[in-house]
Symmetry: C2
Subunit: 495 residues, 2 copies
Amino acid sequence: MTFRLRVKKDMTKKDIISELDPLFYPRGIAVVGVSESPLKIGTMTLLSIITGGFEGGIYPVHPKADNILGLTVCPNFKSLPDDTDLVVVCVPASAVPSVIEDSVDAGIRAAVIISSGFAEVGKDGKRLQDEVLKIARDGGMRFVGPNCMGICNSSVKLHALMNMMMPIAGNISFVSQSGTLGTMNMLIASSYGVGFNKFVSSGNEADIKTEELIEYFANDPDTKVILSFIEGIRDGRKFFRVSKEATKKKPFIVLKAGMTSAGAKAASSHTSALAGSSVINDAAFKQAGIVRAGNGSEMLDLVKAFSLLPPLSGRKVGILTAGGGSGVLTADACEKYGLKVHNLSNEIIEELNQFLPSFWSHGNPIDITASGMFGAAGFSSITRCLDTMLQSDDIDGMITMSFDFLDMFDTIFSRFQPENKSSTTEIASIITPFMNGLTDDLVSVCKRYDKPVVAMGTSGCGLMESYGIPSYDDPSQAAFVLSKLAEYKEYLEKQ
Amino acid sequence: MTFRLRVKKDMTKKDIISELDPLFYPRGIAVVGVSESPLKIGTMTLLSIITGGFEGGIYPVHPKADNILGLTVCPNFKSLPDDTDLVVVCVPASAVPSVIEDSVDAGIRAAVIISSGFAEVGKDGKRLQDEVLKIARDGGMRFVGPNCMGICNSSVKLHALMNMMMPIAGNISFVSQSGTLGTMNMLIASSYGVGFNKFVSSGNEADIKTEELIEYFANDPDTKVILSFIEGIRDGRKFFRVSKEATKKKPFIVLKAGMTSAGAKAASSHTSALAGSSVINDAAFKQAGIVRAGNGSEMLDLVKAFSLLPPLSGRKVGILTAGGGSGVLTADACEKYGLKVHNLSNEIIEELNQFLPSFWSHGNPIDITASGMFGAAGFSSITRCLDTMLQSDDIDGMITMSFDFLDMFDTIFSRFQPENKSSTTEIASIITPFMNGLTDDLVSVCKRYDKPVVAMGTSGCGLMESYGIPSYDDPSQAAFVLSKLAEYKEYLEKQ
């Protein structure tokens, strides 16, 4: 484990690259609000930090217990080791001011305040929150929350979420104004192999706000894609400026809630921030080069694509299927999303005629048909076809049927009755090497060109994804993400 | 196994309720085009019939082999038992006419012709197809195909698909003009517990066409929902008439490809049928009461909802979450799809105040917050809340967070390191009974009312679905399906 920055007590502000480094790259972490009961938010967060594999110091703080989850307990903040850079706070709201005061006194530079009962519950809570903010500001401490679910940074195996969610490691960094929504979506993404670098459930954003995190992620070498779920933008001008800078460096995907009057009304009861009118947001988001997701599914589809793929340099798309129906639906989806199902030149058609079965579609979409695939040259012709298409200047990117049928056969065979298992084993023993070879060949062809290839038509099993080719159940998702890749590239070119 | 109809050789047309009964409810099945090699389309189809559990007679036909896949082989059609009602044909195209002739002579009433190389490959193929059609017509035989992937009927455990796909049993019957697309989507649906009754890959539709199958499914007591993937409608007037009749009896969901010029062009190369203009289709589909899916994902979302839920009698929707962000996104989605996020009356608010935590949102969406859920009365308050809402005349249906966190914790715990397994076991032992109790309670509340409840915000693990509550990753899917339930109900009321 390499710490990007060894935060030391005697460091001046100048020595610290960013004030948020102690938050994401602490040497040691104190956790307060833990107990011997496992079903407490503090204990669950501590368990998550331990089992996530954090290799720095982990220090539960409790006045009486000796040992919690196998760790030696510090009775108070004074007894914390010097390398404690971050405190995770899970005590009741009323106790938070004194905990923050003690933390500041102990020289801790960053906090994650998970405790709720602040601005979100009314005026008294707001006063308590202001008090905490003042103590932190006066003490030079930065904090996330309150009323949040925690943070992660897979670069240093730091997993401090109260619901113990641990995303798999990847290159997406995500700030979410909803902890539940953020962690749920990371869970879904992780289930199909898409990983995250940093995650922040930003809660009430008393101190550290979405805008500052976007800025931090934009400059963070471990982050390739920035993602944000936004309910309310507190400082529209700053958000616009920060986003415009960020999108120059890397894609920034936003799911914005409260875009309708019903949603805005719900948002104003959830956070104090104004959701804003959708029309103003649409224009501003576009000008800032932000990639917009219309809902959670689109958000996940987009992060997968931007996380895995090279840019799409134009809108001419080739389609490769072994089923005419999928080809038609894919062509429909491409046109719907402003992509061009480019006509094949005579040269390409001639070339494809060399190895495709005689009854192929002779156009784009290229349909080699189900029986074509099982023909003598079936599998190798798929790879050659993809190669021919990607080589051509007429094609900027490809949507291909995934051809990842091993998972499909696995599922099918799992429903077979025991007495027929031997036949399935025989079929599997014949199919498996073919299929593995096909996937290997497909992937090596894709890697030869700097053009995005997206797979569609699988149950999202993730074999293609593990090789860097995002895969979607439906062609419309494939066309949607390619259109957004094109949009972002066009934006960058205009700048 | 109960056969709805014992088809007998001496039956007259009058005795047979529908000419398609021998296709779906055969007493015995002959399979021709099989060999001792397992990786042949015929052999794979035979294997699927055997392992699918078909309890009638299964008769491989082969001139030389004695035994294929453990079954005694019939050397020719003359030696087939009298109860052979259906023949599945996988021989090369040129041999199909004589096979159909032999079948007719043997008194077989129905065929599934999987073989390709007919109208889809050009004029010669079309001629061959016409020849087959004439033989069948003259012999009183009906057939599916050619150039199709096969059929299923889970009522009699008949699984005759060339790619061995076996959907799980359910109440949806599906005719697809693309075999690959149809079977792929059944695979995906099956993976989250949504089952099918009958499936037909209709191929070139030389004899039995989509329209006739819709009519059959409309009158089929085992079918609750009709589904069709359509590339081209051959007889628009008949399609409209049949659909209008069908939708009076049960929901009919259609995914229509070729709705854009790029798609229509691709479709005309795939089938000879004209895809038609999207505007004409839109209006006709609406007048016939058809529920339209815009893409494959929407199609799957819709079949799940219509398969599991009671009708939605109005557009007033209640939202229940434990995360404000999800509530806001759900409200956005409801407004987008024309549903009403109905204001709660003072009476309901008063009633909810009795048991919800003080900091609940005091409005619709009802947000009990993540910490509210883990509070003392957390779990029971979720159930009471749902009960209160469903009881009210102000609410026609509900979208609720799934609260199915067991799968989530399973996934989270699976990433835990071995040395921390004991803690996870302890947490699991505390959480599991709570969660199981919650799901049981939720489901029993939902069953008490004849109003649809849709869950959202899970990774589609299917616990809720196994209890009849469809579950979606994203709130926009939940709102979309409710809006379509409302649309269908409104259509029926207007008739």
